[in-house]
Each structure stands twice: as structure tokens, then as C-alpha cells.
């Protein structure tokens, strides 16, 4: 299998592995041959005819996605004959395409637009009326279908057949009445349906969440890691900050999968994809002391007061509740502050029992926090055991715990109706996190931290892969990364 073949593409030598097609080898070598139906993970039905190339010695042009690479093959993809063939294929695709780019969410990242600009036949020979079909069909909670825009590449039906294995979609009819549609009685509600909007090369399948929110050319893309579970899927974060009035004023527009052969392949799940779109809601940006006197503080003053408060009573009575959303950098500063400097004993970092989500064979994991593994590397979960919420509640009621430092967690999720009473019992409650919650309302000190997209850092996924994420957005207000807050406190608490 390791045998390497050499062939020539447009005068350029390309190396291919045995069994690879010309299109695969070319794509791996960075040469783009136009294509719609072929997808690395979905096979090559060869029905779009866009990847057609001229092969020396062959009587007719060949589709490169079904042309196995052979030693010494001479292939031309940009020769006039190849271009003419691709151009004709594109003209056929556009026969019934409505050309409603102005209202189409795909425009700007559409395969039809891209290839039309490159190789399109600008005057179509088509003189008949366009065939009409279903528009604006909601297939499921996330995906909208426009049958007129579809070019019958069958990527979507292959996806539901091979990847999600849920088989909701099929091709119905023949000729120009042929259309993609739901299998009768089904809805497109599999947990990976969002990927269909990514793989559809045209505007036939689009995101309902993203529909008409913002044009794609306003977006900025940043490499990041999905914090939805311990899988740590590689993603692109698309942010809309250039035109603040677009996207309903939200800065985060959408998440897109980023190819990673070890972790997530080409896909991400819908929970991750749509779970973070309310990123900007209930955000904290001001450093506050709420009790006894409510006042906005500078970071300097707040760190001074918090450091003094943490030392006020014996450290045995201080509990620290952290979440698995801390980055590796945060975990280290966390350990240096609370374990090494303060020598606190009571830690809580295990996920709430009922927070555990569904798990499947493809991507989703039970632990819905991205970085418990990073804490484990520093001893949290191995040397240091996590308390449970119930035992912590018991300790508070018994008066054994006087202070609680909460980092981006909401005790109300575990304690329910008891939580207000329990939290008010504490002599010191510090809440540090990006979002408002009950602990933030009742806290003595509320420290705003940046959220995942506003800082850079690393998550370690359940396989032990350490993966970095970049900063996509500016922090809000005075918010600082968790590690910076910990380090500031540590500097003041060090003897």
C-alpha cells in the first residue's frame, strides 16, 4: 500500500499512493480541481462531472474522482479541452438553478459562484423556463432545504447513509423533477444534521440558525476548539464584529468544523455547533464588591480585598468549586493559588451528575466539559479528590465551610431550591466567571473572567491531545482570563 506512484498534472509532477484517484492525489498536493460530489469522507459517486480532466492517450475526457492514479499518467485539468468540459458541466448544473444569490445564505462561499467566476460560461445556451421545486422546506430543527438550488451531488444522502447512519434523506423522481427530500414520515433530526449545511456545495441545504443573520463575507474566522465535551472537536469560529448591527448584534455568528484526522474528522455535533450561539448573553464585565457595600472596584483593589478575605478565617473552612472548562493555563495557576499557596483542602471540580450528556460512537462524549483531563494532569482527580455538591451542602449547613470560591459554575444547578439559603449562609462567597448566575448575584465579590473565545489557551481532550485555541473576540469590559486573576491573587497571598 505504501507504493508511491508518480503522474503529471498540468505539467507538474504529483505523487499518489496506490489506489488513490487523481482528484484525491491532486487535492492532497494542493492542486484544486473543481468538484461538487466528491468529498474526502463520503466517496466519489462521479455524478457531478465537474472534476473532468483531459488524459493523454484517452479518447474522451475522464472524471478525475474516478480515475485511479497510474504511473506515468499525463493529466491536464486546465487545458482548453478540460476547461470546456468543466464549463459545460457547470452550465448543465445551472440549467434549473434559480440564481437567487442575493437572498441565498450560501453566496460568498458557494461552489457554483466560485467555479462560475473561474470557468463559467457567462452566456447560458438555456432558453427554456427554469423548473420550479420546493423552496424554504424546513427538514428538521437545524436545516432548511431549497430544492431549486440543489445540483444533485448526493453528498447529503451519502452523509445520512454513511456517517450519521440515520437515513432521513433520499433522492426522489427522475429527470428535471428529480429532487432531494425527506423519506416520508421522517424529520432530519439526527444529532449531526448541522454538517449537511457544511457539505452541501451550493445553497440547497442551509442553516436555519444562521438564516439571514449576516452575510458570510462579513465574518472573521478563527481556529478554536469546541468546549462542548471532552472530545475537543477542532472548529472554526466565525465572528461578526465588523458590522455590529448584523447578526442581531451578537458577536458569535456560527461554528464550523475544522478537519482533524485524529479527533473529529470532518464533523462536529449539533450540540456543540448550536450550543454556544448565545455567547454574549448575561455577560459580566465589571469588577464588583456586592456585600456589604455594593461598589465597582479596580482589579488592584479587588485583588487586595479578596486576598485579605481568603486569609480571614482558617483555610480548612474554604471550599473551591471549579469547572472543567478551565484551560490548561488556568488549571496551573489554579493549582498554584489554591493548592500550593493557600493550601486549601476542599475542592469541587467533578461535573454535576445530571450534567452528563448523551454519548455515541461518532463524536459525542459523556463529560460535557472540555478539560477535566488538563486538571487531571495536575493532580485534580488523582491526588486531590473532588467533593460532591451534596457533601458540600452538608458541610455548609454544619458550619464547617465558611467560604466558597466559585469559578464559572452555578451551584443552583445542583442544589435547586436550597441554593439561595445555602449560599447566604456563607461568610464569604466569591464568584469568578464570564456569565451571571445565582452565585454571581449572591456573591460578596464578583470577578468577571473572559470566556473561551476571548482568550487563548489549551484544552487536553479525553485522548490526551493538547489542542490550542486562539482568541476570536475582544474581552468585554474589565474581564481578565482566569489564570491572570489567579496569578494576581497568588502574588498577593504569597508570604
Amino acid at each position: 500500500m505504501d507504493k508511491t506512484l508518480r503522474f503529471t498534472l498540468d505539467g507538474r509532477p504529483i505523487e499518489a499512493r496506490l489506489g488513490e484517484t487523481v482528484l484525491e492525489a491532486a487535492t492532497r498536493a494542493g492542486v484544486m480541481i473543481p468538484h461538487y460530489c466528491w468529498h474526502q469522507a463520503l466517496g466519489n459517486p462521479g455524478n457531478c462531472r465537474m472534476c473532468i480532466v483531459e488524459v493523454e492517450g484517452a479518447a474522451k475526457p475522464q472524471v478525475s474522482c474516478r480515475l485511479p492514479a497510474r504511473e506515468g499518467l499525463v493529466v491536464r485539468s486546465i487545458s482548453p479541452a478540460a476547461r470546456r468540459a468543466q464549463c459545460s458541466a457547470l452550465e448543465f448544473h445551472l440549467v434549473d438553478h434559480p440564481l437567487d444569490c442575493p437572498v441565498c445564505d450560501q453566496s460568498g462561499e458557494c461552489g457554483l459562484q466560485d467555479y462560475y467566476m473561474d470557468i463559467g460560461r457567462y452566456k447560458s445556451a438555456m432558453r427554456e423556463d427554469k423548473a420550479h421545486a420546493g423552496k424554504r422546506l424546513a427538514l428538521g430543527p437545524h436545516i432548511m432545504l431549497d430544492q431549486e438550488r440543489c445540483i444533485m451531488c448526493t453528498r447529503c444522502t451519502r452523509f445520512v447513509g454513511q456517517v450519521s447512519k440515520s437515513h432521513e434523506l433520499g433522492i426522489f423522481g427522475r429527470g428535471h423533477r428529480q429532487a432531494v427530500d425527506l423519506v416520508p414520515g421522517r424529520a432530519l433530526d439526527n444529532p449531526y444534521s448541522g454538517n449537511l449545511a457544511d457539505i452541501c456545495p451550493v445553497g440547497a441545504l442551509t442553516d436555519r440558525d444562521f438564516r439571514f443573520q449576516v452575510r458570510v463575507w462579513y465574518l472573521d474566522s478563527t481556529e478554536s476548539i469546541c468546549p462542548g465535551c471532552s472530545r475537543g472537536c477542532n472548529i472554526f469560529v466565525h465572528t461578526s464584529t465588523r458590522r455590529p448591527w448584523q447578526n442581531q448584534g451578537r458577536r458569535l455568528a456560527r461554528l464550523k468544523p475544522r478537519f482533524s484526522p485524529e479527533v473529529n474528522g470532518h464533523w462536529i455535533c449539533d450540540e456543540g455547533r448550536y450550543g454556544f450561539l448565545d455567547f454574549d448573553s448575561k455577560r459580566l464585565g465589571r469588577v464588583m464588591r456586592l456585600k456589604p457595600v455594593s461598589e465597582e472596584l479596580s482589579w488592584d483593589r479587588a485583588a487586595q480585598e479578596v486576598a485579605a478575605a481568603l486569609r480571614r478565617k482558617p483555610v480548612e473552612g474554604l471550599a473551591v468549586a471549579a469547572s472543567g472548562a478551565l484551560s490548561n493555563e488556568d488549571w496551573l495557576a489554579f493549582k498554584e493559588l489554591f493548592v500550593d499557596t493557600l493550601q486549601a483542602r476542599r475542592f469541587l471540580f467533578a461535573p454535576e451528575p445530571d450534567q452528563a450528556g448523551t454519548e455515541d460512537q461518532l463524536l459525542r462524549r459523556r463529560e460535557k466539559t472540555p478539560n477535566l483531563e488538563g486538571g487531571k494532569a495536575l493532580g485534580f482527580g488523582t491526588k486531590i479528590e473532588s467533593l460532591g455538591w451534596d457533601s458540600l451542602a452538608g458541610d455548609i449547613e454544619a458550619g464547617k465551610v465558611w467560604g466558597l470560591y466559585v469559578i464559572d459554575r452555578d451551584p443552583a444547578q445542583a442544589w435547586g431550591g436550597r441554593s439561595r439559603e445555602l449560599l447566604e449562609r456563607l461568610d464569604l462567597l466569591i464568584y469568578q466567571g464570564p456569565r451571571q448566575c445565582l452565585a454571581g448575584e449572591l456573591a460578596h465579590y464578583r470577578l468577571p473572567a473572559t470566556a473561551w473565545l476571548e482568550e487563548e489557551g489549551h484544552f487536553t481532550n479525553f485522548q490526551g491531545n493538547v489542542q490550542g485555541y486562539q482568541r476570536a473576540l475582544q474581552p468585554l469590559g474589565a474581564a481578565k482570563p482566569d489564570w491572570a486573576i489567579f496569578a494576581d491573587l497568588e502574588r498577593r497571598l504569597k508570604p
Binding site: 444569490c101 423552496k135 439571514f212 452575510r215
Partner: protein, 172 residues
């Protein structure tokens, strides 16, 4: 493009030009001619004898401004035959606008044939540079700059922002 030096010879001036006097006299001839012809026209007009004006001045705030046929004036949003706005909120005008004075938000249209329409369409005429790119960019011919309105002053920046109903009003 390579820069080249092209020598331009100075005009040769004879004694007549250099003495200035003849040229000054010729110049004075031009201005005196205008002066007396215009003065005569003013007087005749004042006396009601001839209507030829002595000046080309347009007394602008009193008389209406004369706009060129292709002058770019205030924007105007066009309607479909049924009265709904033509705009499909494709945002191409907002994208092309060099002054970033157009702000559009889109929404779902109840008409499935239209699909997308503008929820809000604001033009900040205080920022607009009247380049006309938005008109060129529009794929559905929804925006024109021919409202023939050039008096757009307002008492606040906020009043310079025209919203969709205002831009669709007094459609020609």
C-alpha cells in the same frame, strides 16, 4: 510606467508682451467689455426693456437649484408593483458602500417567492459620500439616487439617518 522628462520650451516673448502694457490693455478690454455689456443689460432689465439677464448667478435659496439630469441626489428605495419594497436585503450595497453609511438588517419575507426582505434599511446621509456605488451594486434595482433632493441638512446627527419608510416616501 517609466518616468520621462519632456522639455517644454518657454514661450518667446517679444517687447510688446514684455512691456506688459499691450497685454494689460487687452485684458482690460475684456473686463471692460463684460462690465459695460452687463451693466447695460442690468439697466435695461431694471427698466423692463429687455429680459436678458446681466449675470449668470442663480439666487439659490430663493430660486430652486438646477440639478444635472444625472446628478446623484438623495437615495430612493423602489417598490414592486404591489407596493412592497423591491429590496431583498442582499446587503451588496451595504458591502460596497465606502462610507459604511448603509445599515440593513434582514428578515424572512412572508412571500415565499421573495423569501428575504429588509427589516430595517437605514442610510446615514451624514456619512454618505454620494458615490452611487450602492445603485451600481444593487442586483434587483431597488435603490436609486434620483430623489432630486439635495437639501438634507438636519439639526442632529440622528436626524441625518433616513429609515426605510422615509426612503420610500415620495417615490416618483
Amino acid at each position: 510606467m517609466a518616468m520621462t522628462v519632456r522639455p517644454v520650451s518657454r514661450p518667446r516673448r517679444g517687447l510688446l508682451e514684455q512691456s506688459y502694457l499691450w497685454e494689460v490693455a487687452r485684458g482690460l478690454g475684456v473686463t471692460f467689455r463684460h462690465f459695460f455689456i452687463n451693466l447695460a443689460r442690468h439697466c435695461l432689465r431694471l427698466a423692463g426693456l429687455r429680459a436678458e439677464p446681466g449675470a449668470v448667478t442663480i439666487q439659490y435659496p430663493d430660486e430652486p437649484a438646477v440639478l444635472g439630469r444625472r446628478a446623484r441626489t438623495r437615495h430612493r428605495l423602489l417598490r414592486r408593483p404591489d407596493g412592497s419594497p423591491r429590496c431583498t436585503a442582499c446587503l451588496l450595497c451595504e458591502t460596497i458602500c465606502p462610507a459604511r453609511c448603509i445599515r440593513i438588517t434582514a428578515e424572512e419575507s412572508p412571500d415565499p417567492a421573495v423569501e428575504k426582505r429588509a427589516k430595517t434599511f437605514d442610510i446615514d446621509l451624514g456619512m454618505c459620500v454620494f458615490c452611487g456605488h450602492c445603485v451600481e451594486a444593487c442586483p434587483v434595482d431597488a435603490i436609486h439616487m434620483d430623489a432630486d433632493q439635495v437639501e438634507l441638512a438636519a439639526y442632529s446627527r440622528g436626524d441625518m439617518i433616513w429609515d426605510m419608510p422615509a426612503l420610500m416616501r415620495d417615490t416618483k
